[in-house]
């Protein structure tokens, strides 16, 4: 992390060593990120696979429901819009779900996996700090996968729109109604908002917890990730007949039944949906969660320093 370009050589050692190329501090991070994409190809293959399957199936759906689509387009009933947008919403939801599932498996495995295959001894033989490695790994579920899901959704929905247009034109129907009624840009903006607020910021402590367990567990990281929260919930229920802890987790996962979900943009989106980014940013739960995320990540970096291969 610290290349100290301006540090004075404080020993003969440094004087001798500082002459060869010094790397900028972001390079180890960049290469750590790249190696995650090399190792876990499912990060992009899983959402791409889902997108591919959707694009293969979509023409069949178009041809089967052509008359229905034509009827929907000719009526100017806004309620029909939802039916028209449904395949696009489903595509977005499936791609997002794929990215989310990959995020979970990735987070649980990555720091455990490098100890299991002993490659941690190779990684540690290079001048990359534990914190750099952990932050690079955290970047995958917290930034890379949500953004990737968004980009793939944009591309998928664009191709879907093109396919639909071609089919409509070939059937002698007008595409103008389709393009004006679908409101794809608005929906995509909502999707991006949802991904940033919910998947990046709101779920960050959850991914950080999984990474922490992945760094810590000597075996079965999945069980260790699930059992302690479960045990706390059960203990609370039995001892105090309350379920605050379970509610807390439930709120964290689902966005909760409270105001949080509308702040983050609930799925599927409606054009008239009201979002309140200000309220989201002002919610203490967000900042407390991010504080937990930072704690778990620093903890994971510290543990990585001590842990031997399993």
């Amino acid at each position: 992390m610290n290349t100290q370009p301006n540090a004075m050589p404080n020993s003969p050692l440094d004087a001798r060593q500082s002459s060869p190329a010094t790397l900028s501090s972001t390079r180890p991070f960049y290469w750590s990120l790249r190696r995650e994409l090399w190792e876990y190809r499912s990060i992009y293959l899983a959402p791409l696979g889902i997108a591919g399957a959707i694009l293969l199936a979509f023409p069949f759906a178009l041809l089967l429901h052509l008359s229905q689509i034509a009827r929907t387009l000719s009526s100017l009933d806004p309620a029909q819009r939802d039916a028209l947008a449904e395949p696009y919403d489903i595509a977005a939801a499936l791609i997002m779900a794929a990215a989310f599932i990959v995020s979970i498996f990735y987070s649980v495995d990555c720091l455990y996996g490098e100890r299991r295959d002993r490659s941690i001894l190779f990684w540690k033989s290079l001048p990359v700090s534990d914190l750099t490695v952990v932050l690079a790994k955290a970047t995958i579920p917290i930034f890379v996968l949500p953004l990737l899901a968004f980009v793939i959704t944009v591309l998928t929905q664009s191709v879907m729109l093109l396919l639909a247009s071609v089919v409509l034109l070939a059937s002698g129907l007008s595409v103008a109604a389709l393009w004006t009624q679908l409101l794809l840009p608005q929906n995509l903006a909502m999707l991006l908002y949802h991904l940033v607020t919910a998947h990046m910021l709101w779920y960050a402590p959850f991914y950080a917890w999984l990474l922490f367990i992945s760094a810590w567990a000597r075996r079965t990281p999945f069980l260790w990730a699930i059992l302690p929260p479960l045990a706390i919930g059960v203990f609370e229920k039995v001892a105090f007949h309350t379920s605050h802890f379970a509610d807390l987790l439930n709120n964290r996962f689902s966005g909760g039944p409270d105001a949080m979900s509308s702040m983050m943009g609930d799925f599927p989106f409606h054009p008239g949906m009201h979002i309140t980014p200000g309220a989201f940013l002002a919610a203490p739960g967000l900042w407390i969660g991010l504080l937990f995320a930072a704690t778990f990540l620093v903890g994971a970096a510290r543990i990585r320093r001590y842990r031997d291969p399993v």
Binding site: M1, N2, T3, S11, P12, L13, Q17, P20, A21, T22, L23, R27, P28, Y30, W31, S32, R34, R35, W38, E39, E114, D117, R118, S119, I120, L121, F122, K124, S125, L126, P127, V128, S129, D130, R305, Y306, D308
Partner: protein
């Protein structure tokens, strides 16, 4: 200058003492062989040097504390820890790219040059390579790093004799120079006998022998004793005796005085039979093998 300086290195795993006060002093340009049985503490010493494990006692590697400064230290230190730690999913080209990306002193052209001498395909994944090839790849990566200290922990385990010989040959021919320092642990002591400049035996977390190879060669002698001289030879208190092809083979430590005040000499031993320098593994057995549980007896006399 000092590359590694350790005083009273201690490390315990629970109630098991892995290191029990190890002192270590390695100068620049030396090639130290760390020899010991399984669980003797060799790997713990190396792990401490590499900042992979916490320890008690004093330890400076290239004037740094390895535990708190591992990341910085790894620019000047390379290591091959254990065998087959290269990630199996990685392609050869990716390994080159990655090390070039994160290591300021990695010379990619040099690594490519080493690889060109092997049959390793740039697009192969590590899992597709043979064990010998993985070692070649790792060595090519490490030798292309302009490091000051290279640590090798059982680098050739599981390799056949050709690969093993090639490994040490390329290390000496293409890598080693007087400004580099190498520390190696191995069970195949005979492989490194002519490679080392210094030798250290370690057993039960303690240093049993610490000497240069010149000292080793002038101090320990192995005599294949003629049968009629056997009793006389025995009287000179060999540190070890074994039978080979029906002849008694005795190892003597010239530093010990069989009779008080009377130094044992090479001529004296030559009169008993055929004299030569013992193999490291034979001396290792001599100093440790026949004294189960004993790190005390020989230690006092043999430690320099």
């Amino acid at each position: 200058m000092n590359v590694i300086e350790a005083h009273g290195l201690r490390k315990a795993y629970g109630s098991t003492i892995a290191l029990d006060g190890v002192d270590l002093h390695i100068d620049e340009g030396r090639i130290l062989g760390l020899i010991g049985p399984n669980g003797a503490g060799k790997s713990t010493v190396l792990n401490a040097i590499l900042g992979l494990t916490e320890f008690q006692g004093e330890l400076r590697v290239l004037e740094r504390d390895p535990w708190t400064e591992r990341e910085r230290l790894m620019r000047d230190v390379s290591f091959i820890a254990d065998v087959a730690v290269l990630p199996r999913w990685m392609r050869v080209s990716q390994a080159l790219e990655y090390v070039a990306g994160v290591h300021p002193r990695f010379d990619r052209a040099k690594a490519e040059g080493f690889l060109a001498k092997t049959d390793i395909n740039r697009t192969s994944k590590v899992r597709e390579l043979s064990k010998g090839m993985v070692t070649q790849l790792h060595l090519a990566l490490v030798m292309a790093i302009d490091a000051r200290l290279l640590v090798l922990d059982e680098p050739t385990i599981g390799l056949d004799i050709l690969y093993r010989k090639q490994f040490y040959d390329s290390l000496l021919d293409d890598y080693y120079d007087r400004s580099r320092t190498i520390v190696v642990t191995t069970h195949q002591a005979e492989d490194v006998q002519h490679v080392l400049t210094d030798l250290m035996f370690i057993n039960r977390g303690r240093v049993v022998l610490d000497c240069s190879m010149e000292e080793f060669e002038s101090r320990f002698l192995e005599v294949t004793v003629r049968p009629e001289q056997f009793a006389a030879a025995r009287a000179l208190k060999p540190v070890h005796e074994r039978q080979a092809l029906g002849r008694a083979v005795l190892i003597f430590d010239l530093k010990l005085d069989p009779v008080a005040g009377q130094k044992l000499g090479r001529q004296q031993l030559a009169a008993l039979g055929e004299v030569r320098i013992p193999g490291i593994s034979d001396l290792f057995v001599a100093l440790m093998g026949n004294r189960p549980g004993g790190n005390a007896g020989v230690t006092e006399g043999a430690t320099v």
